[in-house]
């Protein structure tokens, strides 16, 4: 049975979403089912389309960052980072050392927070109730830290073009000394709780497999691509910021199934902590903001910058016409491209698998619809 066969008259069409609890936002998946088996699936997006790209054209460069906060609303800082780097590259700004480190530390923390949300919600998707509370416990620790650094729990607007808004608070180092070991322990606890559970393995091993060739063809990136066995990470294939200064690992899966996608993310959190630890050691006091004119006015030109967000290849394409507003901003969001592979992943799946597969590619609808 293939996913694109035309539905039989006996098949039942079911709307999964936009109000379904497991679609992770306002996502609608229309499925045709034959008993419990999915015969055909058709994703519908756009319920959260706010026209961020168009809105950006009317804002000044520094204001655009606030719109980027609202794209991937569980990994806000990673989105801010992409836009800042894109503009800085266009303007050829040298960002001060310290702000590089601050950006890396906070982005990696945000990656952990995002993966922790994934972990918890994925637990719910497969029907386990406890993981979400463990996941949120760890996420909460990070959010608290963010609150003390940026003043906000989610919509930070902390990375500015040319650096970061202000230096870290005085107690930052002390807090990190407590936070990192607890996070490590928390990740291990989460790992023990779910990864080896016989039932969890039965639900995720071999479900929703995709080959490396197919994944690349669909433009799948991030953990979902690495789960298929491809060693591809923007941080190493096209290094940005200061990621080439750290020694860390890229988790790579084998089968490209749900379990691999899940575990790649779990392992990534451990690697993020390694990066943060090294960054904390290397970080020196100093300036956090480059000397810039008050109004950002990049030269004419265009820049396309890719970054590795928790969900994959998050890229920003900025076209500048030399004024203080961007002429065009195009955001290439990882969830958008990853979601295209959903129909392919859903072939031969059961209704219950649909939830598990959709959860495993970890979409954020704010990012898909923009």
């Amino acid at each position: 049975m293939t996913i694109d066969q035309s539905p039989n008259s006996m098949d039942i069409m079911v709307n999964m979403g936009p109000q379904h609890p497991s679609t992770h936002g306002v996502f609608r998946l229309v499925i045709w089912i034959d008993g419990e088996r999915i015969v055909r699936a058709e994703p519908h997006i756009g319920y959260l389309h706010r026209g961020s790209e168009k809105l950006s054209e009317g804002e000044s460069y520094n204001q655009v960052i606030t719109l980027f906060d609202r794209l991937d609303y569980v990994a806000n800082l990673n989105c801010e980072l992409a836009f800042c780097i894109a503009v800085e590259k266009l303007m050829a700004i040298e960002v001060p050392e310290r702000s590089h480190y601050i950006r890396v530390i906070l982005s990696e923390l945000n990656r952990i927070a995002s993966h922790m949300l994934f972990y918890g919600v994925y637990g719910l998707d497969v029907g386990a109730m406890t993981p979400i509370l463990y996941g949120f416990r760890e996420r909460e620790r990070i959010q608290e830290l963010f609150e003390s650094v940026t003043g906000a729990r989610m919509m930070h607007h902390y990375f500015w073009i040319g650096g970061v808004k202000e230096d870290l608070p005085d107690d930052f180092e002390r807090r990190m000394k407590v936070l990192l070991p607890t996070l490590k322990q928390g990740i291990d606890e989460c790992d023990r709780l779910l990864s080896d559970s016989e039932l969890f393995l039965a639900r995720t091993k071999g479900i929703g497999t995709i080959t490396a060739e197919d994944a690349i063809d669909f433009g799948v990136t991030g953990p979902s691509l690495r789960a298929t066995g491809v060693l591809e990470d923007v941080r190493i294939s096209e290094p940005y910021s200061i990621y080439d200064r750290f020694d860390y690992g890229i988790p790579v899966g084998t089968n490209g199934d749900c379990w691999d996608r899940y575990y790649v993310r779990l392992e990534e959190m451990r690697q993020s902590i390694r990066i943060i630890e090294q960054a904390m050691e290397q970080m020196m006091p100093g300036e956090t903001m480059a000397k810039l004119r008050r109004i950002t006015r990049p030269p004419k030109g265009e820049s396309y910058v890719r970054t590795e967000s928790p969900r994959g290849d998050f890229a920003v394409f900025v076209v500048s016409d030399g004024t203080e507003h961007p002429y065009r901003v195009k955001v290439r969001t990882p969830s958008f491209a990853n979601l295209q592979a959903l129909q392919h992943l859903l072939r031969d799946a059961y209704v219950a698998d649909a939830v598990v597969i959709l959860g495993s590619i970890d979409i954020v609808l704010g990012e898909v619809d923009r």
Binding site: M1, S9, M10, I12, G35
Partner: protein, 164 residues
């Protein structure tokens, strides 16, 4: 009126009313529920006749399993297509068949001398001995027939179902 006769009349009313419901209603799911009522009525009749074991078997097998399987089949098909039963040309045949069976039963009942008066219920042990000692061979034959039917059903479904 005795208590047992009250139960008998209630059960009999359920049986006949349910049977009529199955025939009369146009909604196929309602028909299944009416069948359930009728089957429960039969269970009540067994109870009045002190055949508790049979009554419970009636509830378990017919009320629990058979009706649920019927409903299952109804729901797997698209309900909007079959919501209302349509008349077809088979009803005269059905009347003839029904009257025929009724006639046979009537002859059988009238031809048997019925003992009335208080009766003891049959113990489980007696029943088990009857089934597994005195009538062991017919019992095994019956189960063999059921097994054949089961395998046949599986084979037929496989033939239509494709690769799995």
């Amino acid at each position: 009126m005795e208590f047992s006769s009250v139960i008998f009349y209630i059960a009999a009313a359920c049986t006949i009313g349910g049977a009529f419901g199955v025939v009369i209603t146009r909604n196929i799911v309602y028909a299944a529920f009416a069948l359930l009522v009728s089957l429960f009525g039969v269970a009540g009749l067994f109870l009045v006749a002190f055949a508790e074991f049979l009554a419970l078997v009636q509830v378990l097998i017919y009320g629990g399993a058979i009706v649920i399987v019927i409903l299952f089949a109804l729901m797997l098909t698209r309900i909007e297509d079959f919501e209302h039963l349509t008349d077809n040309g088979q009803w005269p045949l059905a009347v003839v068949a029904g009257l025929g069976i009724f006639g046979v039963l009537l002859i059988a009942v009238l031809g048997t001398s019925v003992r009335t008066g208080p009766r003891e219920s049959v113990g489980v042990r007696d029943m088990a001995e009857a089934l597994f000692r005195d009538w062991a061979v017919p019992f095994e034959v019956a189960s063999l027939v059921l097994l054949v039917a089961l395998i046949g059903a599986v084979v037929m479904v496989r033939a239509y179902g494709g690769k799995d």
